[in-house]
């Protein structure tokens, strides 16, 4: 039999062995799929219920005024919050302490008075509290609370009765100021007269205009808006493209990670199986057969390559067909998968020579792979890592693998932009393969 035929026979044997090893099959095919689906569901809030994107907040109304009730309703109607109504401050505090809520919002006593006198010197206030790890949550809540207070103020100003009441109180306050210069007093009184005339001609506020909690800074129906901020995910395409097209699914993040876990599982599995050939004695038979040592290495490499490509393809197809993660650059994605597979075939070869027993090879191999995954964004996306760790991650093929897959999946990287991750993957793979194969050949030629 010619060389390629021998290599294919060897690879077919390894694929058959893999199909009969339930544990290896699970970690190669099933575990990565679970990883992609479960983490995608968690990050996207598709896990059911209110979803993890809604912040659980305990809210207590300590003022019991009409204004406090209205602000409370604004919070309860916001889809970004999962509001838990507390009866008092202690209960709100306890809900956070026990983990039922991530933070609390207290509407303090005097809130109603301040709301009725927005220009009276005492501002409306809220108390926001969270656990020690909730700095980001607290910041987000501060923004949401500010928005709600503006909404409440806006709705108040658009209500002729409430606006008239505010202006009368303001006029009384103005009258009580004795040392106000006459010219300024005349100007302010003129302004108030004009305002009262405007309020008198306003229609009564429609009950349906109760402000909702839509976008950041959204106004109260037909009224004015202070600011509107659009949220756009950055992916393929240029600035100004339709934001609907650019929306990134959480599965587009987790499935590239899942592919990396699958590829690492393949590398570890086939690396350990090469050690197993040695410890199980079958290497003796292989070496006595009229084939070269390179056939043995290439047979294992081909099996690893085919499995890696197959599992990557399955995962990406599931991401596309089930979760709608359609690749924006299919050809680039194919190149990325091939480069990734070749890279980890090299890693497999290196893992096959790091230990002399299967247990040692598996232990050392997974320790290395987990480290590479941790620093390369295989477990936690790089975006959530501190800058120094992101720098360290440059040495990990996991980082470049994820970048390459994402490049074809949703980043829409151009061929030039793909050169770096693909080139590095091939370089890492070639280096690892050369070292591993050389050590293997040296050991087997004793």
């Amino acid at each position: 039999m010619k060389g390629p035929g021998v290599v294919m026979v060897l690879a077919a044997k390894d694929l058959r062995l893999l199909s009969r090893d339930k544990v290896a099959f699970f970690f190669t095919f099933v575990f990565p799929l679970l990883f992609g689906v479960l983490f995608g569901a968690v990050f996207s809030g598709a896990a059911g219920g209110d979803g993890p994107k809604a912040i659980a907040v305990a809210i207590a109304d300590l003022d019991q005024s009409e204004d406090a009730r209205q602000v409370m309703e604004l919070f309860l109607g916001d889809e970004r919050l999962r509001a838990l109504v507390a009866q008092n401050a202690q209960e709100a505090h306890d809900l956070v302490r026990t983990g039922d809520a991530e933070a609390y919002i207290l509407i303090p006593q005097g809130f109603g008075s301040a709301a009725r006198m927005p220009f009276g010197g005492t501002p409306m206030s809220l108390d926001i509290g969270s656990g020690p790890s909730g700095r980001a949550t607290r910041g987000l809540l501060t923004g949401i609370a500010t928005q709600k207070l503006y909404q409440h103020l806006q709705s108040t100003m658009l209500d002729p009765t409430r606006a008239g009441e505010m202006l009368r109180q303001a006029r009384q306050t103005l009258g009580a100021i004795e040392d106000l210069p006459a010219t300024r007093r005349i100007a302010l009184l003129g302004l108030m007269n004009a305002a009262e005339n405007a309020v008198a001609t306003m229609p009564t506020a429609d009950a349906d205009q109760t402000p909702g909690g839509a976008g950041v800074g959204a106004g109260a129906g037909a009224g004015f808006e202070i600011v509107r901020i659009a949220q756009v995910d950055v992916s393929a395409g240029g600035v100004g493209d339709n934001p609907q097209v650019l929306t990134i699914s959480a599965f587009a993040i987790t499935f590239p990670q899942a592919v990396l876990w699958a590829v690492m599982g393949c590398a570890a599995g086939f690396g350990v199986s090469l050690v197993g050939e040695r410890t199980g004695g079958t290497m003796t038979r292989l070496r006595v057969a009229p084939i070269g040592r390179w056939h043995i290495v290439l047979g294992k490499a081909l099996a690893c390559l085919l499995t890696t490509v197959a599992v990557s393809t399955v995962l990406l197809l599931v991401a596309w067909l089930v979760f709608g993660v359609r690749p924006v650059a299919p050809f680039m994605l194919v190149l990325a998968v091939l480069a990734l597979a070749l890279c980890f075939v090299g890693v497999m070869m290196l893992l096959a020579v790091v230990g002399k027993t299967e247990a040692a090879a598996s232990g050392i191999g997974w320790a290395c792979l987990l480290t590479l995954a941790m620093i390369g964004g295989g477990a936690i996306p790089l975006a959530f890592m501190p800058p120094w760790l992101r720098e360290v991650g440059h040495v990990s093929p996991v980082k470049w693998g994820i970048l390459a897959i994402e490049g074809g999946l949703w980043r829409g990287l151009s061929p030039t932009e793909m050169l770096l991750p693909i080139g590095l993957l091939l370089a890492i793979g070639a280096t690892c393969f050369t070292i591993g194969a050389a050590v293997f050949a040296r050991r087997e030629s004793r």
């Binding site: 039999m1 009969r20 090893d21 199980g280 004695g281 003796t284 006595v288 009229p290 030629s445």
Partner: protein, 289 residues
């Protein structure tokens, strides 16, 4: 068929094979007899190219164009090996194991399957062809291990302690297989430390220890050369223990005893030296690891 010329192999400070020379002729069965650690497995490893001698040379083959070092894959087409440890894939079936190794030896898919079926029948595993090896007994695995060495119809078969740890039935089956191979003219190098196996199966026996060849010849030649004298044991009426007489001519000693006067002979026994006596004489009686 197989020639090892002054081969030496060292592992660290341990000398495994020390200047061993051996010539196995085509069609003969040669026994490689030695205690544990004598260097038998290392010798077989060098003979088939698994280990590279530190010095000396190994040559295989007896046909023009098919003679050379076992490092050459083409030369290894002549060889089949049954390693000391069972070397098969437990997750594959018996037939798949044989067919796989048959394919590596150049058989077509169809030839490999047919050869697997034939071999499984010959080692008594025809009804287990489609069973994975997980459920096989040690003896069944040993037989399959041997069958695997024969898958490509080799002209030289090296069997490294093929009967170690097997039940009597499997052992008997292995003996029959070796006898059949011998009848077909296959050359066999058979390593063992069981004397009766060597005496029963081998045309010539090489006794090795500490990596050196101590003696080589047929069993009779070895016994004659290294077995020492025969012993005639005679016990007469009234004697508690037999009198033991070492002699090179035991029949003459027996005739002399019968013709002599004295109490009647109650027991008479001739103890001829055997291969075990040769082995112990050459390798000593101290225990080995």
């Amino acid at each position: 068929m197989l020639r090892l010329s002054d081969v030496r192999k060292r592992f660290g400070k341990t000398i495994a094979v020390d200047g061993l020379s051996l010539h196995v002729h085509a069609g003969e069965v040669m026994g490689l007899l030695g205690p544990n650690g004598a260097g038998k497995t290392t010798t077989i490893g060098m003979a088939v190219g698994l280990l590279r001698p530190d010095s000396g040379s190994v040559s295989l083959g007896h046909e023009p164009g098919l003679v050379g070092s076992p490092d050459h894959p083409r030369v290894r087409t002549l060889v089949g090996v049954a390693p000391q440890e069972v070397a098969l894939y437990d997750a594959l079936t018996a037939r798949e194991n044989l067919a796989f190794f048959g394919r590596l030896h150049g058989l077509s898919r169809r030839e490999a399957r047919a050869r697997a079926r034939e071999l499984l029948a010959s080692v008594g595993l025809g009804d287990r062809a489609h069973h994975r090896l997980h459920g096989f007994s040690g003896g069944m695995k040993r037989r399959l291990n041997l069958a695997c060495a024969l898958v490509a119809r080799p002209r030289l078969v090296l069997l490294d302690e093929p009967t170690a740890g097997v039940d009597p039935q499997s052992r008997h089956a292995i003996f029959e297989i070796v006898a059949n191979l011998k009848a077909q003219g296959v050359t066999i190098l058979f390593s063992t430390h069981y004397m009766e196996e060597a005496a029963r199966l081998c045309d010539r026996v090489a006794i090795v220890d500490h990596g050196r060849l101590l003696a080589l010849g047929t069993v009779d030649e070895l016994v004659s050369a290294h077995g020492g004298p025969s012993v005639v044991a005679i016990r007469r009426e009234g004697q508690a223990d037999a009198t033991r007489i070492e002699t090179a001519t035991p029949l003459e000693e027996v005739a002399r005893a019968i013709g002599s006067a004295g109490p009647a002979i109650a027991e008479l026994r001739i103890e001829k030296p055997d291969l075990e006596a040769v082995f112990l004489h050459l390798t000593g009686r101290e225990h080995r690891q």
